[in-house]
């Protein structure tokens, strides 16, 4: 096979594998940012973090949050914020580290090792 064609096919394989691995990393991040509290299920995102942070800054002690399944859940604001912030930052950092590792890998073997 022509060298140029061989390289193009290898790059095609590498590129597809890279996209697959990126998608898997993102799914893990999504799973890692689900927080369960008092029978409720909350997907942690910037909106939730900001809203709860605002409540802590304005001196609220307890509040009612509507969870992913539209169930209202009463939470203690400071503890809740500390827990979701910790979970979100841990998940983000792990995602970042794994993503950087992926970007440095220059072969299919490296991507899935």
């Amino acid at each position: 096979m022509d060298d140029k064609l061989q390289k193009a096919l290898e790059f095609g394989n590498y590129s597809t594998t890279l996209e697959n691995q990126k998608r898997m990393l993102h799914e893990k991040f999504v799973t890692d940012t689900i927080y369960f509290h008092a029978g409720g299920q909350f997907t942690i995102n910037k909106e939730l973090l900001n809203y709860v942070h605002m409540l802590t800054e304005t001196g609220q002690e307890t509040t009612v949050l509507v969870d992913d399944n539209n169930i209202p859940v009463e939470v203690e604001v400071n503890d809740f914020y500390a827990n979701i912030a910790d979970k979100f930052f841990t998940a983000s950092n792990e995602y970042h580290t794994a993503y950087k590792k992926l970007q440095k890998s220059r072969s299919v073997d490296g991507l899935v090792e």
């Binding site: 799914e27 999504v30 689900i34």
Partner: protein, 273 residues
């Protein structure tokens, strides 16, 4: 309140569902710290050849009166038509020894603890409708709606329920759908002639309307993909390439629960595990 996972395993000529169930029960203990009950048609064999008494919390004997035929693929180039014994999933409510139960297919590989959290939730019935095909290119419509002109698809692969009157009615309704499947096929424009639990659960969920979403998504590889390796939370799969029959791309998932539809490749790995 007791909690646990319920598995159904009925071997056919070539697929060892009991071996898959043993493998899954160990992972459920490892990642979710929950006991598992097995429903099977050959309890004595499970006890004698699979060390079932140590692996399972309970083993319930239940024979099937009916069976289907289904095409099982092993990658994109190999397939066989075999018996498919899936007719008593609707008995889960009556069979489970637990107050809170997660029913799982034996081809679901648990690699994290997220599903154990739903046992603390206030929801009474939970299933997945959101899903993700690991290939990134295949048409997912088949798993979005039960047919092109019909209702939302729910996966019977993982079903969480509590014992209460609402859920008893839910499972009774599934039995009714099963008994009158031709009528419901017509009503919901289902093209497949083979009875599928996913369809029956989807129809019941649509009619009764009290189903909540399980956390995350049902992430799946199809029967055209080939499972290569399972090493704790790391799962390596050959994923079918787009427009290139018989060619694959390597994919590795880490700490993600995965539904592996290629039963042959799963069997090759779990029997060596």
């Amino acid at each position: 309140m007791t909690s646990g996972v319920l598995l159904f395993a009925y071997n056919n000529e070539q697929i060892d569902y009991v071996a898959q169930a043993c493998f899954l029960a160990k992972r459920i203990k490892q990642y979710m710290n929950l006991p598992t009950t097995l429903v099977t048609d050959d309890k004595q064999r499970v006890l004698k050849y699979y060390n079932g008494a140590e692996i399972f919390d309970n083993i319930i004997a239940s024979t099937l009166e009916q069976k289907n035929k289904k095409t099982y693929h092993d990658g994109s180039l190999s397939k066989k038509v075999l018996d498919f014994k899936n007719f008593n999933r609707s008995d889960a409510y009556d069979l489970t020894p637990y107050d809170k139960t997660m029913v799982m297919d034996t081809d679901y590989i648990v690699s994290n603890d997220i599903l154990s959290k739903v046992f603390e939730s206030s929801n009474k019935l939970m299933m997945y409708s959101r899903s993700l095909d690991i290939s990134g290119w295949r048409d997912e419509l088949e798993f979005s709606y039960i047919s092109e002109t019909s209702i939302k698809f729910y996966w019977a692969t993982c079903v969480y329920f509590t014992k209460d009157l609402e859920n008893k009615a839910f499972f009774d309704f599934i039995k009714h759908i099963k008994a009158n499947y031709q009528h419901y096929r017509n009503l919901y424009q289902i093209t497949s002639t083979v009875f599928r639990n996913d369809y029956a659960f989807s129809i019941a969920a649509h009619v009764m309307g009290h189903v909540k979403e399980l956390p995350g998504k049902m992430i799946y590889s199809t029967h055209k993909d080939v499972l290569q390796k399972i090493n704790n939370g790391n799962i390596t799969i050959l994923v079918e390439k787009q427009d290139r029959v018989g060619e694959y791309t390597l994919l590795k998932s880490k700490d993600i629960n995965l539904h592996v539809m290629n039963k042959f490749s799963l069997n090759r790995k779990v029997t060596n595990a």
